[in-house]
């Protein structure tokens, strides 16, 4: 492949410079030959390729909702060069064979690196540990384990899982939801709106009580715990306390929780049904602040495609979840950059560097320096567009941003030097 010289891009807010892509890696721009293809990136920002800690690719099992091909295509359009594929597929990713299969599906699709997340418990049943060690030793080198969709409720099992994964520097990514406080029916933040609409409530305390427990289990075991999709101000308080104590805890926030509020649910439109649910504006504000402070370490999409018919039920019975890969960076820019809460350097950390560190990915989230893998996302910070769900690369249309004007940042994505997305 010809060398590619990207000229004049602002490297994550550090100032303009040239980037030379040669054989999948970055090289010294001074070495660029006259025959190198050139891409004028003046006015654009170059970020290390984004890393999503929390993607549902649905394959194997629900290829009508998303496949590795469609999902990683959506990832590339959103500026991602790596996605962690959650374990709640059919079958569940709870064995070394299943993990290797997921990794192979990702390689075949080829639009982004796919790293399987392993289940914590067999079949996500919350009762017995899955083969964590075999998944870690497999070719897929699983390091992140999660029963996402379900909480590891049993404190003793959570403790054992935390202890066990320490042997291979794994991390347990917890879906924090006390099923007794917020059961399977819970679908709306418990408050004024759930009371008026008569929707089963999901109290904020059902999240923060589990996080508070897990903080102490992480301290007890000295292991790493990661909190999925933090949605409440109370959880932020617990995280702040935990980090002050030096506990090895990290946390992510989903883009929708940075912008959308419970008000969206007023029309009973299941597009806005998501778990954990959309929260009132005071929580949204606390989450933005926590992401700015670094109390929340990363943005993760919780991209959750669903076939149309699985959303066309009564609100309480519809499948929870919304698309996120293509719009994640747009929402981060809208809520965090355009409000001066995050610099581009910090955006690179929250969307790429830190998630790669949490997942122990050696080839992602690296500095844009010669010798590093050429994973680059080129961003136009000023472009805006109205989101059209029908233009999505995803097979699903449960897009909560449809019809909204948002930043339209991603100009091109390069994964290992190869363009996986380039705007026409």
């Amino acid at each position: 492949m010809r060398d590619l010289l990207i000229t004049g891009a602002d490297l994550a807010g550090e100032g303009p410079a040239d980037l030379l892509i040669r054989d999948g890696r970055l090289a010294d721009p001074a070495d660029a030959g006259l025959d190198a293809e050139r891409l004028d990136a003046a006015g654009l920002i170059a970020l290390p390729g984004l890393v999503d800690l929390h993607t549902h690719l649905r394959e194997p099992g629900r290829e009508d909702a998303e496949t590795h091909d469609s999902g990683t295509r959506a990832a590339a359009r959103g500026g991602f060069t790596a996605v962690l594929a959650m374990a709640n597929t059919v079958p569940v990713t709870d064995t070394a064979e299943a993990a290797s299969h997921v990794a192979a599906l990702g390689r075949r699709a080829g639009h982004a690196e796919v790293i399987p997340v392993g289940a914590v418990t067999k079949g996500l049943n919350g009762e017995e540990l899955a083969e964590l060690g075999l998944m870690a030793r497999s070719a897929a080198r699983v390091r992140v384990f999660s029963d996402d969709g379900h909480c590891v409720t049993d404190a003793r099992l959570m403790r054992r899982a935390l202890e066990y994964v320490r042997a291979f520097d794994g991390v347990i990514a917890q879906h924090a939801q006390d099923p007794r406080l917020a059961g399977a029916q819970a679908c709306c933040h418990e408050g004024d709106i759930s009371g008026r609409l008569g929707l089963p409530g999901w109290p904020a305390a059902a999240e923060s009580t589990i996080v508070a427990r897990d903080v102490q289990l992480a301290e007890l075991t000295g292991s790493r715990v990661h909190v999925c999709h933090v949605s409440t101000a109370e959880t932020v308080d617990v995280l702040r306390w935990a980090k002050a104590r030096g506990v090895k805890i990290t946390a992510e926030v989903a883009p929708h929780h940075l912008l959308l509020t419970t008000d969206e649910v007023m029309g009973y439109d299941p597009t806005y049904k998501v778990n954990p649910p959309l929260r009132p504006s005071e929580h949204v504000e606390a989450l933005r602040e926590a992401l700015a402070d670094g109390i929340i370490d990363a943005v993760a999409t919780d991209h959750a495609p669903h076939a149309r018919h699985d959303k066309e039920h009564a609100f309480a019975e519809a499948a929870p979840g919304m698309l996120g890969l293509e719009t994640a960076l747009a929402v981060v820019i809208e809520t965090m950059v355009n409000t001066d809460r995050l610099s581009w350097y910090a955006v690179a950390r929250r969307t790429s560097v830190v998630p790669a560190e949490i997942a122990r990915l050696s080839g992602q989230g690296r500095p844009l320096e010669p010798g590093e893998p050429a994973n680059i996302t080129l961003v136009d910070p000023a472009a805006r567009a109205v989101v059209d769900r029908n233009q999505s690369a995803s097979l699903s249309r449960n897009n909560p941003w449809h019809g909204r004007e948002l930043p339209d940042p991603v100009v091109a994505t390069f994964w290992a030097g190869r363009p996986t997305y380039r705007r026409d």
């Binding site: 408050g191 004024d192 009371g195 008026r196 609409l197 929707l199 029309g267 039920h313 009564a314 609100f315």
Partner: protein, 323 residues
């Protein structure tokens, strides 16, 4: 009026019109031949995703007395498990060319969602723990008759205090009543143990208390709500006995009501739990009147939605009588 989805959709003049027409409709109930031709050729489907003999038969009789063709479709059980989406079920029924769908669903918001998908009129016959607007209308109808015995010209409920007592969290009847009574100008007092008080009740147009005895003497009406015994296993209250002592309309509490205080219950009653036999059968108990009002009020609502009279003052009852 295109749909009836929420009691909040109705203005005071609209409520008055519905109740006035229901008064006329109620005269039909006592005729030997009960049919009016008003909705001849119209088709009404009762689409019930949840069993309800009482509400379904009330809507069915109301439609039939107005000469509409009424079909009952039972879609019981979660459509999720049947593999058919709510949208498909609703579109399938609507595609048969029905004029109105009367929808009862175990999940909140389903009739509202249906109204977004189809052209037919939608009437909410009770959705989950959300609303039951025709129940609130028939309660208002019954109460207005009761109040008019002493004040024959009354129109709204200003100056009246109405207590709604019981499982407010899970009650669609309570939500619709709060909204309708607000429009009618009544002062609403909600009484329940804190475990059965809806979240965010402080933002409702009502006052909330857990002390039933404190409000007894100030009420013009008390609406007792059905309490399901399975709430005990959910930890909402410890025992039936304790519930009755705190929140039941017992014989002792009956004696603390002012004379003339109306007693309502949407049924079916748990005698001995939320309401004593003495209260249920008291002279001021309107419980059977509520059932009787169900048909007249639903006739009125169906006519308001489907009648399409050019002259709003026209009356299907008078026209039929003249003919």
């Amino acid at each position: 009026m295109r749909h009836l989805l929420s009691a909040a959709d109705l203005s005071l003049p609209e409520i008055t019109e519905i109740l006035d027409l229901a008064e006329e409709m109620s005269t039909v109930q006592n005729r030997p031949v009960k049919k009016l031709p008003a909705l001849r050729g119209r088709t009404v489907v009762n689409l019930f995703f949840e069993d309800s003999t009482r509400t379904r038969s009330s809507f069915e009789i109301a439609g039939k007395w107005l000469s509409a063709d009424v079909i009952n479709v039972s879609a019981k059980g979660s459509s999720v498990f049947k593999g058919e989406s709510l949208r498909d079920t609703v579109l399938t029924v609507a595609a048969m060319g029905v004029d109105a769908l009367v929808i009862r669903h175990h999940a909140s918001g389903a009739p509202w969602q249906a109204s977004q998908w189809i052209d037919a009129h939608v009437l909410n016959a009770g959705d989950g723990t959300h609303e039951h607007p025709t129940q609130a209308l028939l309660d208002a109808f019954t109460l207005r008759r009761h109040f008019r015995r002493t004040d024959p010209t009354m129109i709204d409920f200003s100056g009246k205090t109405i207590a709604i007592v019981g499982d407010l969290t899970h009650s669609r009847v309570a939500r619709s009543n709060v909204l309708l009574l607000q429009t009618l100008g009544a002062k609403v007092v909600l009484v329940a143990p804190p475990t059965l008080m809806p979240s965010g009740v402080g933002s409702w147009p009502a006052t909330a208390t857990s002390d039933f005895d404190d409000v007894l003497g100030a009420c013009d009406a008390v609406m007792m709500l059905r309490v399901q015994r399975e709430r005990m296993s959910g930890g909402y209250f410890p025992s039936a006995r304790e519930y009755t002592v705190g929140y039941g309309l017992t014989r002792d509490r009956l004696n603390l009501l002012r004379p003339g205080t109306a007693i309502c219950h949407p049924g079916p009653m748990n005698r001995g739990l939320e309401i004593s036999a003495d209260a249920a059968d008291a002279a001021d108990s309107l419980i059977l009147d509520q059932v009787a009002a169900g048909v007249s009020v639903r006739m009125s609502v169906l006519y308001q939605i489907l009648g399409g009279a050019d002259d709003p003052a026209s009356s299907p009852v008078r026209e039929a009588t003249l003919r």
